[in-house]
């Protein structure tokens, strides 16, 4: 098991180097630089421009800039925001919990609804329930996030007034940051109504962000279930005289979950990507919104760090999934 994890870790290193290169190159390929963007439409004196660029170290050749960036990165320094002059790490740490909280809720929503729905649809193939689940998940998967988010706001927040429109918590609450997760912090604060407010703010973004993963998980679970139910070992299990529930839960489900776990891991990518849109729609102060703002400000260090961190999360989660996959599927564990 240990060597399995080491083998997986070794494959991560080239991926990391690739990501730093891509992030570094892409943001610099966008026309304009931080100084031009800051100055806006006003006329910019070329001498001042050059001086400012030099101060930020942006006048150096690209490969020098890149190696300086890698050198700092190796020491755990993500740089300083060109706009706020705050260390990127510090900004990141205040915003990151908001994204994680939202992503975890969305993933839980997707798994808790998608997995059973897909399972039942697979077991009751061709039934009304099956067609319903497949139809809804197809719609969910095809829905543009920004549009779906706005529709939900219009109906539930504006028309019905059930949920707040945006933000993480009502402005009247001043919650001390302990874990960074508002659900937990507001609970710990003991302030009346704070937890409810935080929870209500979470509902719509959770649904919007969780919709695509939910659709993918439901469809994957269904098809995986259908495939497994046709296997010879299911016939064996039934020939043993096991009860139908035992056949499904013990013999089918475990095998059916193997591809689903991979898909759930891959959905973390979709959650991080979806967070950019969802956080923008709901003014959710997380790294998705931070990244979007930084791109338009050409805040190179922030964009580089944001992409790197998102990619790292994706890699780590999928590494974890690979390990979990080995736990669930004994055939993978022993594969050399």
């Amino acid at each position: 098991m240990f060597s399995f994890i080491l083998r997986k870790l070794a494959t991560v290193i080239p991926t990391f180097i690739g990501i730093t290169l891509v992030a570094f190159a892409l943001i610099r390929m966008i026309p304009g630089d931080p100084i031009e963007v800051m100055v806006g439409e006003r006329k910019l004196d070329p001498v001042m421009h050059a001086a400012a660029m030099q101060r930020l170290g942006l006048d150096q050749p690209l490969h020098i800039q890149y190696f300086r960036y890698i050198k700092d990165l190796a020491q755990g320094d993500l740089g300083i925001s060109l706009v706020t002059r705050e260390p990127v790490t510090k900004e990141f740490l205040t915003l990151f919990p908001a994204t994680v909280e939202l992503a975890i809720c969305a993933l839980l929503f997707a798994v808790l609804v998608g997995l059973p729905a897909g399972m039942i649809a697979g077991l009751k193939r061709g039934s009304v329930f099956d067609h319903g689940v497949m139809g809804v998940s197809m719609t969910g998967f095809s829905m543009p996030i920004f549009w779906w988010g706005l529709i939900l706001i219009m109906y539930f927040s504006v028309t019905l007034g059930w949920t707040p429109v945006s933000g993480r918590i009502d402005i009247e609450f001043d919650i001390a940051q302990r874990t960074g997760f508002l659900l937990i912090d507001s609970w710990l604060s003991g302030e009346e109504g704070a937890f409810k407010s935080a929870a209500m703010h979470l509902i719509l973004p959770t649904i919007v962000l969780g919709t695509i993963p939910l659709a993918v998980i439901a469809r994957m679970t269904r098809s995986s279930m259908l495939e497994v139910l046709r296997e010879d070992y299911i016939r064996t299990a039934r020939a043993k005289g096991l009860a139908p529930t035992r056949v499904v839960v013990v013999h089918a489900l475990r095998n059916a979950l193997i591809p689903v776990i991979t898909v759930i891991g891959l959905q973390v990518g979709s959650l991080l990507g979806g967070a950019v849109l969802t956080e923008t729609i709901y003014s959710w102060p997380g790294i998705g919104k931070w990244l979007v703002d930084s791109i338009s400000r050409r805040d190179y260090p922030v964009v580089q760090a944001g992409i790197l961190v998102s990619a790292t999360i994706f890699i780590v989660v999928n590494l974890f999934v690979d390990i979990l996959y080995g736990v669930v599927n004994p055939r993978i564990r022993s594969a050399k």
Binding site: E231, Y233, R238, A239, K240, G241
Partner: protein, 323 residues
Amino acid sequence: MSLLKIRNLRVEFGSLAHPFPAVDGLDFDIDRGELVGIVGESGSGKSVTMMALMGLIDAPGRVTADELVFDGHDLLKLKPAQRRKIVGKDISMIFQDALTSLNPSYTVGFQIKESLKVHMGLRGAALEKRALELLELVEIPAAKSRLGAYPHQLSGGMNQRVMIAVAIACNPKLLIADEPTTALDVTIQAQIMDLLERLQKEHNMGLIMITHDLAVIAEMAKRICVMYAGQVVEQAPVADLFRAPRHPYTQALLEAIPEHSKGARRLSALPGIVPGHYDRPKGCLLSPRCRYAQDKCSQERPALLDGVRCYYSLNAEGESTHG
């Protein structure tokens, strides 16, 4: 009283308006401690019959029978939960491809113990002891360490031994072996057959051996049942059947054994294939392929009389008895 008595078993697939009978009015008996072979080419309904007996035919497949009596219980009249107390315990089955028939995600030990837990209520040390005993019974070397192995870590022959261990775990009265050696190479085949024969004798089990290879069961079975297109076409003691087949289909099967074609340039083969959904003959099901077929054969379906389903059954010289 026989251990298993099947009368007029029908298994149909397809729509009610155009049913396809995979098993068409099958009668079959087996006694305690008896070893019966069922032979027939692919699509003759051998496996489907046994699946129906095990209760493994799912909708839209339909199973009907005048009698499907095992050990005094009419299986078709039992509630599913009651039937499951018999299936897997008193009747059990092993399949063709042992590797795919074992669950890849669980250890061999788990899969053997599962039946013991569910049917015998064994727990703890007694369970462990019985599982080990079973692996030793099916002659798996280093049995103790193999309990923790996964199917993919064992060879095909070993997996089939595990399947057998699972099947005989609860001392069944009837064991059905559905082409248990087809996926194995010849030396292993012989070992598995010897094992099955030994277990059958030692435990006085009824054993139904399904195969399309007559040679495989010639030396083991006392009685052979030849199936074609969902029907039993001939049933006879093994010696009689080999010496003087009475049904043209049995004769053709015997001729197709390579050893019987010595000196010939080509293997003898029966032309055509088993009739499917849309080309099922009105008369005798073999009539389109039968070299002896007469007009009557394509008009009316013969019944199974005195162990043979043919109007013009063959005599001892292998000649048709018409005219």
